[in-house]
């Protein structure tokens, strides 16, 4: 005797139901839009009020760090000639440095001029060889 049609239907419904529930309860947290500095600078209104990831290079000489606080940094990142000020409030990864590539998670300030971030992935410019560096290290 094989499984009855009724049983199969109940199983199918349970499957569809649970997948549907998971899909509906997914807040989209964890799936983030990933853009370069110039996209944000050119059209800040597109990115108002939501969390995004921004990719750029830390402009040398711009890192300012508030003494005595827990990771309160200000620096400027650039990409394709456009620059964006960043206010970063968290611990920085070991690989964070001037001239290094970073991917910041956060949102744009209300006036669209400062990117408020508290999560960073910093690319290391050298792992084994200068030209082969794609080493990421994350803080959370």
């Amino acid at each position: 005797m094989a499984l009855s049609v009724g049983t199969k239907m109940v199983l199918g419904l349970a499957l569809v139901g649970s997948v549907g529930y998971l899909a509906l309860s997914d807040t989209g947290q964890g799936v983030l839009e990933y853009v370069y500095v110039e996209q944000v600078v050119d059209r800040p209104e597109d990115f108002a009020d939501r969390t995004i990831k921004v990719h750029g290079t830390v402009v040398p000489g711009t890192i300012r760090q508030k003494r005595g606080s827990t990771g309160d940094y200000r620096f400027v990142i650039e990409h394709a000639g456009k620059r964006l000020s960043v206010h970063y409030t968290n611990l920085v990864p070991d690989t964070f440095q001037e001239g290094g590539e970073v991917i910041l998670t956060g949102r744009l300030s209300a006036d669209g001029t400062v990117f408020e971030s508290d999560e960073m992935t910093a690319k290391c410019p050298s792992k084994y060889e200068e030209e082969q560096g794609v080493d990421l290290k994350e803080t959370r």
Binding site: L3, G30, V35, D94, Q97, I103, E138
Partner: protein
Amino acid sequence: MPISTLGTLAVVLVFLSCIATVAFSVRGVLLRSERWVEAGVQALHATFAAAAFASALLVYAFLVGDTSIQYVAHNGDPAMPVFYKVTAFWGSLDGSLLFWVLLSSLFASLAVAANRHRHRELIPHAVAVLGIITGFFAGLIVFMKNPFEPFLLEVPSKGRGLNPLLQNAYMIVHPPSLYLGYVSMAVPYAFGMAAMITGQVDDAWQRSVRRWVLFSWLFLGVGLVLGGLWAYEELGWGGYWAWDPVENAGLLPWLTCTAFLHSVMVQERRGMLKVWNLVLVIVSFLLTIVGTFLTRSGVVQSVHAFGEDPALAWTFGAFMLVIVVASFGLLVRRLPLLRSRGEMESIVSREFAFLVNNWLFLSAALFVLFATLYPTLREWAGMFVEWAARRWPATFGGIEPPTRVTIGPPFFNHWMRPVGLALLFLTGFGPLVAWRRTTPANLVRQFRMPLVVGSITIAVPAAFGVDSPWGLACFGLCGFTFWTIVQEFVRGVAVRRRNRPQPVWEALLGLFVRARRRYGGYMVHLGVVLMFLGFAGKSYDLERKVTVHPGETVQLGKYEVRHDGLRATTDWQKDMITADLTILRDGEVVAQLHPARWWYFQMPEQPTTEAARYMTIAEDVYAAMQDADMTTGWTRLALFVNPLVNWVWIGFVVMLIGGLVCIGTRREQLTDRVGGGHRG
């Protein structure tokens, strides 16, 4: 002759030997000639000999510091300890490909030598498939990534050395362990293909490969867990798993291997799921190639990726396409031979539990694969739209290319948590239901106590203030499953003692000796339960980021952390700043922690974080120093309380022991059923 020339000759020899292996075997099959088949087998052994010679040469080059070889110059450092010099062999792309070839030819030789008298008709086909796989990687070395490539002009005097982050005991074992897992999947795949080519798709091929799948599964597990331990101790973010693409790449074949190890039992007992088993072997093998590809091509950016290399990516892509087309093409052709002998009779049956287990494992693997590749696929789609808009502005000009996205841990956790819990439930449920069908009375008898225990393990943490529903569900299922396993052992022991009076320990030992696979399997399940206990602890962990000066104290849950001072020291490799912390609980000193930051002289721009932790069976107090200033003494710390985290490692060790018990199963014991009779 310089090492670089000799080494290059050796890798060319490996490649030629692979071609000979395939050619001789195919000729042997076509001519039905035992002598050619035997020549193919010998060529396979010769491949291993050549690969071993090439690998020994590369290790030797590192030991003597032959910096005229680019690979050695970039990855070696005369100041490194000897074992890091040896492991530098597989530390980077070119050498790791040679390591692939070494392992793959070794496993191929072993598998063929072990099975040559048993499955004579499968051998030439399996040998040819193994020759093709090894030859692909040998070809990559010869034509694209030769680790013996010398410098053409000037020779640098000193190597740059291995990244200090990777100079860690776990890192010596983690990559080769994953590699052993990846590469050993080629053997089951080759025998599966041989079975389909010859049409001998009965259970014989599986008997040759089950142990190989178990072997692969064990080493993938070891690699994954060591990678987690490394991340936990070395990266200083207080966690061990972040759904990083390369972590995922190791997890994927582990999931499908686990599925195979279960479903193969259904085929053995009921003659069902034959197609399914072949699919799982093919998919597992594909996923090991995908894993190697993800790690080595830089297609998906991650902690470990070695760099972007489009030519390598295309070559891998083409190879995978060939595997997919050949494998599934053959499978479709052989479908008529793979008809199931048995039928599903009830959903409350062992078969059905196994089937659901398989669906969950496979869908988890495919889901993780898709989510890992999704950002890359989307990027490719974007590139395509932009290209199309340039090519045909009239048609595609107005279309916005899709933006790039990233997928982070919250997304994976959201989808994988319920799958994990469902699998944990099946871990307890599956082994207790009967084959074919189970009566309601039997169900009640089997699950009364586990349900009671499960309820208790929900109530107790809830009383202690755990409020995460996922955490509570996980605790409950841990209790439920734990008791089902205890019950099985108790019953087994009771049956043995009834048959012949003996002490409890002797009966327990007897279970493992007489029915290794079954009780080894329960032990693996026990390890799973303990690991999930560790995952459950994650639901109420604690994290604080603080800045403190010496003499100050901060509160961390029920602990107090006192900053006693900073020390700056130097050894022959690095500068170090160490913070001395005292952990107090209710005013009593419980531990001294010394988190540090190290600046290696060879890479001063990239300091490493040396986390420190106070380990107990209940929880870890974990401290990482982010930054410190020697003049003012201010220190930035990341502090964590990680409940039950050590159960992840303990559980894994239990799992490993269980796996080793299973792998030692002798052939004649495979169908042994001791302690049976108590089940309907």
